[in-house]
Symmetry: C2
Subunit: 659 residues, 2 copies
């Protein structure tokens, strides 16, 4: 098998039977799906602290309760998604759950919310990671957009190779992140415990401003909670991507979900506790000397040695790579939606590596467009982002609650399940309301606008396919018509007499005795006159005379002047003029086609046949069929072509096409 760029970039084509081997276990599942969730441990607490900062030290006192509420919510989400996975082991995503239990409208709303969310997550995730990177290494600042796009391309390529490949590739930064932050949290907590809750920091965090600050109001706490909730986006990823796990699917999904939630919960808890113990506060990002809460924390607990760089480096990697979660979820979601006819069909076609390449590329292109439009700095998109996540949480929880109620009514199911999903639905709905209100002005209103539009688009796509099906399925259940055509005519557009033309005319004569060749003269002049005369001559000697001798109807040669140099127009006119109104009448246009397989071959020819075919297919009506009679300029080895599409080597003895 020869060298192939596709093979180098994406690996060899995978067979269907290899599907199971491309699926995720727990070890690869955590990096592939969990990066979004885990990464949010690094910005969720900071987001809440940033809101509380305006209240000074009094604000910091409230971070504990807020973290506890968030942890409670996380626990509810864990339990209810755990149930969802068990109940819908094949693709129990919010889309399917909402669609099956609440109706198509709710399903599409969930799908739209998730899609928008996945796209935003890629743009926001990468740009947050690069933002953290450039604030650590300011000399990179001029390359923000370039870095963003570079990381996007890398994630896209890895995911086009396969979901498992992405899990393998990102496992090092993921487990380095978990390990180093886990160590800091554990050691810091130990020191805090030994120091009666007031440990001595190795490097003192910046002193908190001692001004009294604003009063702590309920509104402030709600906003802090809403911001902290960003820590929970990404938790739904496992349930949306159950199909990515290998058998036993449910077990692997459960373990992955549990691992992600447990790690995330412990990190949140630890960071919240240590922030209070060490009196860490979120600093103003726009001011010089900014340090993230995590950076302050690592400094306070450990100091500034090499481990500091490992820990902060892994945080940066995880932030940059949190987009990967979208690359697992988005293509699978789109595949389900496309299979139901709400998205164009190419979204449902598995590519050479058994991933849904069109979805991956679409996600990548949309995120690239956002990144370019915002110059790589997407802070303003963050508010849009939690809304989608919590809308899909709520819809999926409500769907599950309906599911259990129905099961109960039908005699199965149990009340515990209903209770958990019911509470989940209730709590996430409240969180959604809080987020919507708290973030409405900051941009959440845009989500409220975009999602219905997305739903409309999805419905429009479905209407399109329904229309197509109505046309081509209606009345197809009649027996096939075995009568020959009432009248059959072949038209061969030619340019000159050569072997290719000869073959096309011969082909036409084999399907009908009524053959007309058309030569369209596009420009007048002495050259064109002599060319026409030569063609007429050749036609008489090489076609008409032999046909007359053989006693068959001699094929006609029509030389048409085209004042407007159009070849399509005279041809359509000839087709219209043919007396072909009877239902069985059949017109076949035979196109002699030179085929050049090299990529630049297209540039060397006027490609008139391609345009002719497209226009005549479009305007010729149902009576006209179009035949391409090829002449390959290069010999081709079909065995090689087959081998390129499938695994394995080309057989040693080629079977050249030119026989």
């Amino acid at each position: 098998m020869s060298f192939s760029w596709a093979k180098m970039f994406f690996g060899r084509p995978l067979a269907n039977r290899e599907a199971e081997e491309t699926k995720l276990g727990v070890f690869t599942g955590i990096p592939a799906m969990g990066l979004d969730g885990l990464g949010s441990a690094s910005y969720g607490p900071e987001a809440a602290l940033a809101i509380l900062a305006v209240a000074g030290a009094a604000g910091l006192g409230h971070v504990g309760p807020i973290i506890w509420v968030i942890l409670g919510l996380l626990a509810i989400l864990f339990l209810s998604y755990r149930q969802t996975i068990a109940a819908y082991p094949n693709n129990g995503g919010s889309y399917v759950v909402a669609k099956e239990n609440l109706g198509t409208g709710a399903g599409l709303a969930a799908a739209a919310a998730l899609m928008v969310d996945y796209v935003l997550n890629v743009a926001v995730g990468i740009s947050a990671g690069v933002g953290a990177l450039t604030s650590a290494i300011p000399s990179l600042h001029g390359y923000t957009l370039l870095l963003c796009l570079g990381i996007l391309v890398a994630i896209t390529l890895v995911n086009l190779r396969g979901t498992k490949e992405s899990g393998m590739a990102w496992s090092v930064p993921t487990y380095a992140f978990v390990g180093s932050l886990g160590f800091i949290v554990a050691w810091g907590s130990w020191k805090a415990f030994m120091g009666d809750g007031h440990p001595e920091p190795v490097i003192a965090p910046p002193a908190m401003s001692q001004e009294a600050g604003e009063a702590v109001t309920l509104w402030l706490l709600l906003r802090a909670f809403a911001s902290g909730c960003t820590a929970m986006t990404g938790v739904e990823a496992v349930s949306n991507g159950v199909s990515a796990f290998r058998e036993p699917t449910v077990k692997h999904a459960h373990q992955t979900l549990a691992a992600i939630c447990a790690i995330l919960g412990l990190l949140l808890l630890g960071i919240g506790y240590l922030a209070q113990s060490y009196s860490l506060m979120a600093m103003d990002q726009t001011k010089a000397g900014y340090q993230s809460v995590l950076s302050q924390l690592v400094g306070a607990v450990y100091g500034n040695g090499w481990f500091y760089y490992v820990a902060i480096g892994s945080v940066l990697c995880v932030l940059c790579l949190s987009a990967n979660t979208s690359f697992v979820g988005f293509p699978r979601l789109c595949r389900l939606v496309a299979a139901d006819g709400f998205l164009p069909r190419p979204f449902a076609v598995p590519g050479r590596r058994l991933v849904f390449s069109v979805g991956i590329l679409f996600l990548s292109a949309s995120a690239a467009a956002l990144l370019i439009a915002f110059g790589g700095i997407t802070d303003r998109l963050i508010p849009l982002f939690a809304v989608g996540a919590f809308l899909s949480f709520t819809l999926s929880q409500t769907g599950m609650a309906v599911h259990w109620r129905r099961a109960l009514r039908e005699g199965g199911g149990n009340r515990g399940h209903l209770a958990i999903n019911g509470i989940g639905a209730f709590v996430t709905a409240i969180a959604l309301a809080v987020i919507l209100v708290a973030k409405f002005e900051e941009g959440a209103w845009l989500t409220v606008l975009i999602m219905p539009l997305t739903v409309l688009l999805l419905r429009y796509v479905r209407r399109y396919y329904d229309g197509v099906d109505r046309q081509v399925l209606q009345g197809s259940h009649r027996e096939i018509d075995l009568r020959g055509p009432g009248h059959s005519v072949a038209i061969v557009p030619i340019k000159r007499w050569d072997r290719l033309t000869r073959r096309a005319v011969q082909y036409a004569l084999r399907i009908t005795p009524h053959v007309t060749a058309i030569n369209v003269t596009q420009l007048e002049g002495p050259d064109s006159v002599s060319r026409d005369a030569q063609l007429t001559d050749e036609w008489r000697n090489l076609v008409e005379e032999p046909a007359k001798r053989a006693g068959i109807e001699p094929p006609r040669l029509l030389i048409v002047k085209s004042e407007f140099r159009s070849v399509v127009a005279p041809l359509l006119r000839v087709i219209q003029d043919l007396d072909c109104a009877s239902p069985g009448c059949q017109i076949t246009v035979v196109l002699p086609e030179l085929v050049d397989g090299r990529w630049w071959g297209y540039l060397m020819h006027t490609n008139r046949e391609r345009r002719l075919r497209a226009r005549i297919l479009r305007h010729g009506g149902l009576r006209v069929a179009i035949v391409s009679v090829p002449w390959q300029l290069q010999e081709s080895d079909p065995a090689q072509a087959i081998a390129e599409e499938e695994e394995g080597e080309a057989p040693a003895s080629g079977n050249p096409a030119r026989s």
Copy 2:
């Protein structure tokens, strides 16, 4: 006729018979072809003065002789191109003259030199114009590249409408330029004459530095001459574009050439004379307060009133539009070269407005690439530019000299003609040598590298077409083969049973009794099993049973599992396996094709038939023909389609295709 973007942008399609009306007279010929030549009056003298500036006042004294040498050269060029036009009234460009008299190699060298030159002229001309504009209005400086590209797009669009349209569009700035500069030169000369050669300037030009400066060496004078020669690029344009003039071609071309040379000569003479009289010197462009020589001149002669702005505004316009000359010459040159098979054929196809659109677009794209690569500032390309012009001058003059000598030998011709072109060849060759030496380090070496590469590329293209002709013409002069195929088989790749599939199978049955339908199952699973079962059922009831009843061979249905999801590979395998080795054997692949005419229709389908056709045409060999059986999703009105390609209104009574 309905609204059409193409019509709005480019105008209605033109008929061949309208060709004469699209051609140039003298009035439109001067703006269309002369902008490059005339525009150089504004930078040629300045370029020479800039070199002489290092010698201070002593340098200025030499500008007169240099201008006279340049004028002498211009006169020789005028006379010899005049003869060339008369001798080659149909496209007497350097390419044709050199090819016919010096051989193909020289012709291609001339063509390559001209092509490179035309592209450079567009980039350099526009960027020089924009440079002058932004130095006049510094607030535009940030938009340099955008302005360059905007002007490029405007010139491209106008030229796609037609050459005459460009002549009309640019006639206002051209004649404003000629009128206002002519007035300044005339009035200034009168004042200089009345003031005994030392007139009082209205606004004194910046005082010349009184330092002695460098000595005036021969090398300095040669370099000044070489720089001043840039004033002559563009003079060859008329002879390269004779075909653009209307009948009597030679007369119109002669008059246009004479007008351009006369205006250019008078302007050069006047500017040279006035530069000395008013002691104007080129200023350093990179320093603040820079004023071009022309701006100083207008200020000195007239002062700063509104007329100053008209004059300088028209200079800016002419500079920006000097690229238009390339847009007239390049596509016509490429057309001639393509007609000889040295460039891809699309270059020889006249577009809807009877201009060679591919050449125009190629020129525009190349120039845009240069502009973008250099950020809109192309000063460094200027040295490359005179080399090409003078190489093509020399080749065309030499070619004409050979032409006359042969004519003399054959008894015709006259010695005067030979003398003029001989002197032209000699002088331009010397100028070429001077330019090459003087500008070698500044970048002329690059031209020496690029041109041979271009010639190689042209020869490679010709070799390609020769190869194609060898393949398809060889042995085509045998009588047509009227025997039917030894064996004929049809293969129909289907996806499901619908009306389209039905029609495809019916078509296949009309051309051969041996029909096999293939359904490729791309993914396994319960869905696919039930779909296959349904299809098998439908096939049996709707196809096989009726065929058996009718006593004909029942079409087979083959369901193939494709482990690698490729549809091409199993199909190619089936084609290979068909026992079809006999010379008359014919395989026809019948593709049922859904046709959606809307631009986004492509996105809604997997377009598997397109890919199938391309791959099978490439790898199927000569025995395989491919039929498209269409199903148009929208009704089409062929009369409308014809009308869109040709002038005139669609007939009131449409003739819908779905009959």
